[in-house]
């Protein structure tokens, strides 16, 4: 039996009737066509499906859509500026070659939106801790860390401006 839910995704309210077993990831991808949230393992380890639910990063593959009833969900599509410009975190990944295939990148950017919302100048330990839940098979993380530093600077510059 389907359940009615109301979820706000990237500022837009969605009312839907969903099966109780439908994951939030599949709801976003299949029902809303928001395919930036990628599924790498579907058992909560790789972090590619990371989204931000009510300000806290979460695995969309381990969250049921019904659990997100009433929640505000942010995905990578909602990070890009409304005019299509890249958010400073996205820009930093471009500048520093912090990505290759791009599959894990959405989850990493989402993890960082949470971290950098909470800490304007995170310590290296905080960054390592936050990104400890995101696997990347392409980059070796070196340029991801450079991109985080770049993002911190770009965000600081934006606050000044």
């Amino acid at each position: 039996m389907n359940h009615p839910i109301r979820i706000t995704v990237n500022g837009q309210v969605h009312d839907a009737e969903v099966a109780p077993r439908l994951t939030l990831a599949d709801f976003l991808r299949e029902e809303l066509d928001l395919t930036a949230t990628h599924l790498g393992c579907e058992h909560g380890v790789c972090g590619a499906c990371t989204v931000v639910i009510d300000g806290t990063s979460a695995r969309a593959c381990l969250t049921l859509a019904v659990q997100a009833d009433g929640a505000e969900v942010r995905t990578l599509e909602g990070v890009t500026r409304p005019n299509g410009e890249l958010h400073p975190i996205q820009q930093a990944f471009w500048e520093r070659h912090g990505m290759q295939c791009g599959f894990c990148t959405s989850g990493i950017v989402m993890t960082l939106t949470e971290l950098l919302d909470e800490h304007q100048e995170p310590t290296r330990e905080q960054v390592m801790e936050a990104l400890g839940g995101n696997l990347c098979r392409c980059t070796g993380y070196v340029k991801i860390l450079e991109a985080v530093d770049e993002a911190v600077s770009l965000l600081a510059a934006e606050r000044v401006a």
Binding site: H38, C41, C46, W94, H97, M128, L135, R137, K143
Partner: protein
Amino acid sequence: MADGNGTTKVGAFGTRVKRVEDPRLLRGDGRYIADLKLHGMVHAAVIRSPHAHARIVSIDKSEALADPRTIAVFTAADLPEMPPLTCIDAEETTLPFNQQVMASDKVRFVGEPVAVIVAEDRYVAEDIMGLVDVEYEPLPAVVDPEEAMKDGAPLVHHDTNVVDTLEYELGDPKDAMANAPHTLSERLVTQRYAAMPMETRGCIADWDERWETLTLHSSTQVPNGVKANLQTFLGLGENSVRVIVPDIGGAFGVKIQIYPEEVFISFLARELRRPVKWIEDRWEHFVGSCHGREQIHDVTVGFDDDGRILSLRDDCITNTGAYLQSLTLVEPFIGVAMLAGMYQIENFEATSTVVVTNKTPMNPFRGVGHVQAAFTMERIIDLIAQERGLDPAEVRMVNLIQPDQFPLAKGIGNVLAGEIIYDTGDYPRVLKRALELAGYDEFRAKQEGLRAEGRHVGIGIGAFVEETGLGPYESATVRVEPSGGIAVYTGSCPSGQGHHTVFAQIAADELGVDISDVKVIHGDTDLVRSGVGTYASRSAAVGGGAVRNAAGGVRKKILAVTERLVEAAASRHELADGRVQVKGSPSRSVALGDVALAVSPGRALPDGIEAYGLEHTDIFHPESNTFSSGVHIATVEVDVETGLVNILQYVACDDSGRIINPLLFEGQTHGGVTLGIGGALLEEVVYDDEGQPRNPNFMDYLIPGIGNMPEKFITDHVQSPTYLNKDGIKGGGEGGAVGAPAAIANAVADALRPARVTATPLTPERVFRLAQAAGLVGDQTP
């Protein structure tokens, strides 16, 4: 490249230009296979063997078919007769060890496809899986290759599990060994691990009844190869199959061949007249996509007082798993044929035995064969040093091939690749540079002091030569549009590396335009009729070579047409800023788009110009393969109480010839090394004695996370251009994966002296036991 105004262009060849691919992917606008939806599409789920070895007694589909949600259930009995999947270079005399598209009478590994369910969504398709009753008669399984070689072992296919034994001999190995002042022997084992991209495999097949045409969207590295195979399996003509490759979320070799799912999903789409989508889940990826690496080397080496190698013998066994896949034989060949790496070894003999067992099949992934060759040889060099009381760096130095010896025919051939001829290189320089960057001498000077403080620190070298830039060919078409835009079509389609950027850099360099004027088109067999794909670090060297040649062909025609448009001899023209101008008088110039317009269909062609369009296609067949090299040096500290290895510093100095884009090259090195760190310390696909995989998930199979990074990571390169393509490019995608296990294992061995480090991965448990055996911890500590 400096243009006419003496300024450097954005995206010039050799510069650190950021990738043109990224903004789209960063916005979430990538389109990976799982993101695609076709009208009327249905979803497939695959029933796979839960047994490593069993006879299929019966398959009862009745309950599944009675469920109104079921669209189709297909087993081998429902498929037409199809040939098995092929294996390249399997000897004609070798018995067939090939996999059928779907198992019919027998299953030979956990994960082998047995049936496929189609339903309106994947959730339902998985519900239906439970309604199919497959009755198996389990058979004894064999998982260890040496057990599989024994009389009385369970037989996987035929009356022997040995596929073949390859033999090599160079010089006079027996005599040289007998006369060597010193010899030592060791068994070195590389474990089974896997490419493990973050995106699994997947495909969507779409049959168009009106045109009797199949379109397969697939996350493959080899679209044209998949197309050719589908023609065979489905009995379709050249023009009735189209393969389209969406964005790929990493591949590293595991997407290098056609897989059974691509065949039967295509067949289902044709039968059902509806698009069928199948996306592999992570468990399926662990059991149903190829692994690599599992190889044993039994080595004896003869050497003189200085550690100079006089003779080398290797008996190698590769456990290929249940079936030969398209390129399975590459691993056993390269593992032995590339063993000598950077060293001059004139007397060499080897056997390489290929054995089947009841595990998932193996096929190449990042660093195939070279990883085991480097790990084996580099451990041997360190053992020689230990035996003679010499420094490992010195032993390497005395054995190196010298720069004046190139090109160097090695007298050995390789699967797919022909004779091994080292093209160019400067190994002493690469080694010296790496030692310098690692602060090797300084580390040695303080190491004993640190050890005296109870710190188990060590330094290890991993030197290697890697066959890259593999042929046989790659295609490129370059076209100048009347708008002034440049289109580049390549058969070498990417899986995340940055092909758009580097191919645009090459074309822009040849045609004097900005990379933003270049659009790179790939991954559609209707647009690129002839192409090979991306593997064996071939795209930049071979795909790039084709782009250079094709752009050069267009350039010639541009100059010929311009000669007639601007009154000056072609030799006086140069291409810059998207224009052709007379050297020294930029005012006398014409835009590339106008040159294209002048030869557009519908116009009168200028005198002497015979064909419309500014376009050139090149099929580039390099005469041989390029040989990249590298020296990697790891500095580690081992916690002997926990067995944890901390990489304090990692130095990678690679020589991949001329580099198109150092930024992307660094990214390749970092990524490759990190995969190698996984192989050195963490990753192993573990099976129990019954052939059940014990860790087919990311909780139990650990790939490196950000916490596994070296504390300090230094990359550098030497550039020895090859003569095999115009730009002097060699492959640079895999060296990291090759160098890291050797360097890290040697560093751990150095830290735990006198422990015997003979196998990877060096997991905490294995390291703890090594430390214990060496008397560094536990009961045996004084």
